[in-house]
């Protein structure tokens, strides 16, 4: 049997020696200044014009989508929405650094990553309107996207559950010999859940090629980060689990891209997990059910507005000569119209037939669900006026 020594890396001391948090120093990678120029000694990641423009355009698109959908929720057209304003770079620039074969396991604020992969406006709308074109068959609240062809795992509401799952998914990719990794997004609030600790530990011990991407955006609904955790943020937790860790300015698209590109390389080549902590700020409300004016100041938000990732990237693109003001304005306008048109279209599509209420619970419909469905249909036939969404199609 193998002889193991867990003291191999332990130094000894002969005085009581206390390690304080302040001794840990995890720097934050910044490449772009707010004026769009590079920091001294910073190096631009390899980013061609097409990719750079795609990152930028996707961020602009997501901001338009978010604005419109919050409006639609206010009008009562959809029941719920969750915006990513201020955090677009974290999702979009990280997704841009991945291969399309990599699995994305999202929390719920990564619509930018999904859009970058090619999810269409109609697809967003069909999910949010829970109509019969929604791949989830109208079973989940708005924003719980999922798309197998795009390697984007369907979102689950419970917080942090995707973290140990990402470790398992990545282990499966490794065992199958795939040239792919898994990226798992979550907020700093989710890092308080047991699943975070379980997932990081499992991934580290079992050498899973996974990137844990934490959006440290300052608030978990109304709870500020300093009431969510003590110590040096989420990054220090990665180190504690023996995971290679990068802290990055989450409002700097170039830094997020560079960090994720490097993390992916490590995860794939060394077959191990990497943690990225992206320091950003949730300028939007947590969701349409939340009102941030109750727990934070306008001044605080304004400070972060000045660090807007979209503005920062626009300035950089301008300096590169890759930005056309007029074309950009037109693009935004086209996005607005496209979102509105798709919204109106999706609104008209009916919900799934009632049979789908019992499908997909099991691979086949068992006897007791068959019985319950038949009873339900019989009841709907008796009271068609009370169930207008489905009664027309219950024969």
């Amino acid at each position: 049997m193998q002889d193991r020594n867990h003291l191999a890396r332990v130094n000894t001391t002969h005085q009581v020696h206390i390690i304080e948090n302040g001794l840990i120093d995890i720097p934050m990678l910044q490449i772009l200044k707010p004026d769009g120029t590079l920091h001294n000694e910073a190096r631009e990641p390899e980013l061609n014009e097409d990719t750079a423009r795609k990152i930028y355009d996707t961020m602009e698109y997501i901001r338009v989508l978010d604005e419109r959908m919050i409006g639609a929720q206010r009008q009562g057209r959809i029941s719920f929405y969750l915006a990513s304003t201020g955090e677009e770079a974290a999702a979009v620039a990280s997704a841009a650094a991945l291969s399309e074969h990599d699995m994305i396991m999202s929390q719920y604020r990564e619509q930018g990553a999904l859009a970058y992969r090619g999810y269409t406006t109609s697809q967003f709308m069909n999910q949010m309107f829970s109509n019969e074109k929604d791949p989830n068959k109208g079973r989940q609240m708005p924003i719980h996207y999922g798309d197998k062809p795009l390697n984007f795992m369907t979102i689950s509401s419970p917080l942090g559950t995707q973290i140990p799952q990402a470790a398992g998914y990545a282990y499966g990719q490794k065992m199958a010999g795939n040239e792919a990794i898994t990226i798992c997004y979550f907020g700093e609030g989710a890092a308080s859940e047991g699943d975070f600790h379980a997932g990081l530990n499992m991934a580290a011990v079992l050498n899973c090629p996974v990137i844990f991407f934490c959006r440290n955006n300052g608030y978990a609904i109304s709870t500020p980060a300093d009431e969510q955790f003590a110590g040096d943020g989420i990054a220090s937790r990665g180190l504690g689990y023996g995971i290679k860790t990068i802290r990055v300015d989450g409002n700097d698209p170039l830094a997020v891209f560079a960090a994720t590109q490097q993390a992916r390389k490590i995860a794939l080549e060394e077959q191990c997990p990497v943690l990225i902590e992206a320091m950003t700020y949730r300028l939007a409300a947590h969701s349409t059910s939340d009102d941030p004016t109750g727990y934070r100041s306008r001044e605080e938000e304004d400070k972060w507005r000045a660090k807007d990732p979209i503005q920062r990237m626009a300035k950089w693109l301008q300096q590169k000569g890759w930005f056309d003001e007029k074309a950009n304005k037109q693009l935004i306008e086209e996005s607005r119209q496209a979102v509105l048109a798709a919204l109106k279209e999706a609104e008209k599509v009916p919900v799934n037939p009632i049979d789908d209420i019992v499908s997909d619970v099991y691979s086949d419909v068992p006897w007791h669900l068959e019985e319950q469905l038949n009873n339900l249909k019989q009841h709907i036939r008796k009271y068609p006026g009370e169930y207008p969404k489905t009664s027309g199609r219950v024969k």
Partner: protein, 325 residues
């Protein structure tokens, strides 16, 4: 055929399926080199390597979360939870994730390939935290299958069917029988159908229904009743979800009486669900109220285990009461 105990039958099933399917992976606390606290996974690491049979850290929610990810990727995880009592830290991953993966994604993703193995039940002087029977908690959750074998032959056939079933299965092993029960088990591959009850003994006066280790108790009680001239029909439910109401109802329509026995506490136990369904399906055939012989509504005690257990004597008395009603 070979003589095997229940652990050997489980081990044989795992070897059978791991030899056939590279995607099968077995993991949990101590399951690697050590073979699990009960040795159900003995020799698997030597045979199939550390990548396919491995120890995990002590984190039930981590084990099931990891297994959910593996299953959704297309691998075939067989995850072990060391004791059924310790499945509760993984409750959220099982109930909110494993069970709902297919439904919430409209069938795009699922955990259908996952099997969770766990020992359950009392009779081993295990006290509060090594004796529980948590099946009813999971039976309340749509999307899971729940399977309980009663002997080595059943264990191998049902486990192979569970691993290959396209739904997540909670496979609960009666640990009191792990070494106590020995039977003839084919060394080759075979499956027993999930969702189908097994008629263990035919009879005409009363139907006795149970699962797992309690089938032995029902058998003993039936033998006692036979001395009084009472003929008992014994059914092993085998699958708690979906459960074979058809076979149970058919039997009850013949005998006119039903007794359900399980170790778990009575209130909200799966016997309640069975009783409600059978009174709905067989109301006019019933000649007596449906009897339940279950654990007390207390945590599972240590010193009073014998008193707590729904044993053959309590079952025998309930048979007499039902017949005399």
């Amino acid at each position: 055929m070979a003589k095997m105990n229940l652990l050997q039958a489980i081990n044989s099933a795992l070897i059978t399926v791991m030899e056939q399917d590279q995607r099968v992976m077995v993991f949990g606390e101590d399951v690697g080199h050590f073979g699990g606290v009960f040795r159900a996974t003995s020799n698997l690491q030597e045979k199939f390597g550390r990548a396919r049979c491995f120890n995990t850290p002590l984190t039930e929610q981590g084990i099931i979360g990891f297994a959910n990810g593996l299953a959704s990727q297309g691998s075939v995880p067989v995850a072990e939870i060391q004791f059924g009592d310790y499945i509760f830290p993984a409750f959220d991953q099982i109930v909110n994730e494993t069970a709902k993966f297919r439904y919430r994604s409209g069938g795009q993703f699922s955990c259908g390939t996952l099997t969770i193995r766990t020992p359950y039940g009392g009779g081993i002087a295990g006290g509060l935290y090594h004796s529980q029977s948590p099946e009813a908690f999971f039976a309340h959750c749509p999307g899971l299958k729940i399977v309980v074998p009663r002997n080595p032959y059943q264990a191998k056939g049902l486990l192979l069917a569970s691993i290959r079933d396209d739904n997540p299965v909670l496979f609960m092993e009666p640990k009191r029988l792990y070494r106590a029960s020995v039977s003839e088990v084919p060394e080759e591959d075979y499956e027993l159908e999930l969702g189908k009850a097994d008629l263990v003994q035919e009879g005409k006066d009363i139907t006795l229904l149970g699962w797992g280790a309690q089938i032995e108790i029902l058998q003993k009680a039936a033998d006692m009743a036979l001395d009084d001239g009472v003929s008992c029909e014994i059914i092993d439910l085998r699958s708690i979800m979906p459960w074979d109401a058809h076979t149970v109802a058919e039997s009850v329509m013949k005998t006119g009486r039903l007794l359900i026995n399980h170790e778990a506490p009575q209130t909200g136990g799966f016997a309640s669900e069975i009783a409600a369904t059978i009174q709905d399906k067989c109301f006019l055939y019933l000649e007596a109220p449906i009897a339940r012989v279950c654990g007390l509504d207390t945590p599972y005690p240590l010193a009073h285990e014998k008193e707590y257990m729904p044993d053959q004597f309590k079952t025998y008395e309930a048979i007499k009461r039902t017949l005399k009603y």
